[in-house]
């Protein structure tokens, strides 16, 4: 390999190594949540554990038995906030996230701080069971 070509190859390899450790930013679309009335914020329980592959490359587990409160409505679906726990999505940064469910599928997440919706390319089936208060 000629010296110039070798230098270019080293430069490109270095660039690849440096960028390999950088996570993608979580995609965000501005969203307006219509909050659920406090009295009607139904609690539901996840019936089957689900592994969720985030578009950022990270993954999250939807634990069986975890409880979620209906927090409001988005054009994309119903939003559910975890009860007594913590749930986040992760990319370049970490964000508290609420599930957005439509037609029995997890279609994305609502980020309450950023007031944004982040879609999920690989939708996951979620089974909820209402919990009596």
């Amino acid at each position: 390999m000629r010296p110039n070509a070798r230098a270019v190859a080293y430069f490109l390899a270095s660039g690849l190594i440096l960028t390999a450790g950088c996570a993608h930013e979580v995609v965000r679309h501005p969203a307006t949540l219509t909050p659920a009335a406090a009295a009607s914020g139904q609690i539901v329980e996840v019936q089957q554990e689900a592994e969720i592959a985030l578009d950022s490359g990270y993954s999250r587990r939807l634990a069986r038995g975890s409880r979620w409160a209906q927090a409001g409505t988005l054009p994309q679906g119903q939003a559910y906030k975890i009860v007594g726990g913590a749930f986040t999505v992760e990319g370049a940064h970490v964000h508290e996230a609420w599930l957005v469910v439509s037609g029995g599928e997890l279609v994305g997440f609502y980020l309450p701080v950023e007031k944004a919706f982040t879609p999920l390319s690989t939708r996951a089936r979620v089974e909820f069971k209402p919990v009596n208060p």
Binding site: L18, G21, G85, T88, V94, H95, E96, L111, P112, V113
Partner: protein, 149 residues
């Protein structure tokens, strides 16, 4: 192991331990924490005693304000009005954590150590109350004794 090896191991161990937090343990002080005002929530920040990356002790920033330092084996807490919270650490690569805080809610932020591009880095994670309370056991309080900011 020969003598030089033993000395080197001791020096390495001393170096790793040098950065660990000292102070009263969680179990000793938790009963003395002030009660939480009805119009505030409490955020606990903690870091395990993992010696890896112990020399990296970034400042903990909450909504742009320094509230403490990330020290191995240490924890502290702050009380804040409800609303949006943003945590970041002054480390090699910025990784922000955003979450909401409700009135009378406890939130737990674990500061974990990972290997960055060049050196170890510390990043914040939000954990549930059960995990947070369990992992706080044995950690040293590095906040202001008897007061909540």
């Amino acid at each position: 192991m020969n003598l030089v090896g033993r000395i080197a191991a001791l020096v390495l161990l001393a170096g790793m331990m040098a950065g660990c937090a000292t102070g009263p343990k969680y179990e000793e002080v938790r009963g003395g924490f002030p009660s939480l005002d009805a119009d505030k929530g409490r955020i606990y920040f903690y870091r395990s005693s993992n010696p890896f990356g112990s020399a990296i002790q970034p400042s903990v920033m909450l909504n742009g304000e320094k509230v403490g330092d990330s020290r191995p084996g240490g924890f502290f807490f702050v009380d804040r009005p409800p609303g949006n919270q943003e945590v970041n650490l002054t480390t090699e690569v910025e990784k922000k954590l955003t979450f909401t805080l409700d009135p009378r809610q406890d939130q737990y932020v674990r500061m974990s150590v990972g290997l960055g591009l060049v050196v170890y880095r510390v990043y914040p994670e939000l954990v549930d109350k059960k995990t947070g309370e369990e992992e706080l056991k044995g950690l040293s309080y590095t906040g202001q004794t008897g007061t909540a900011k």
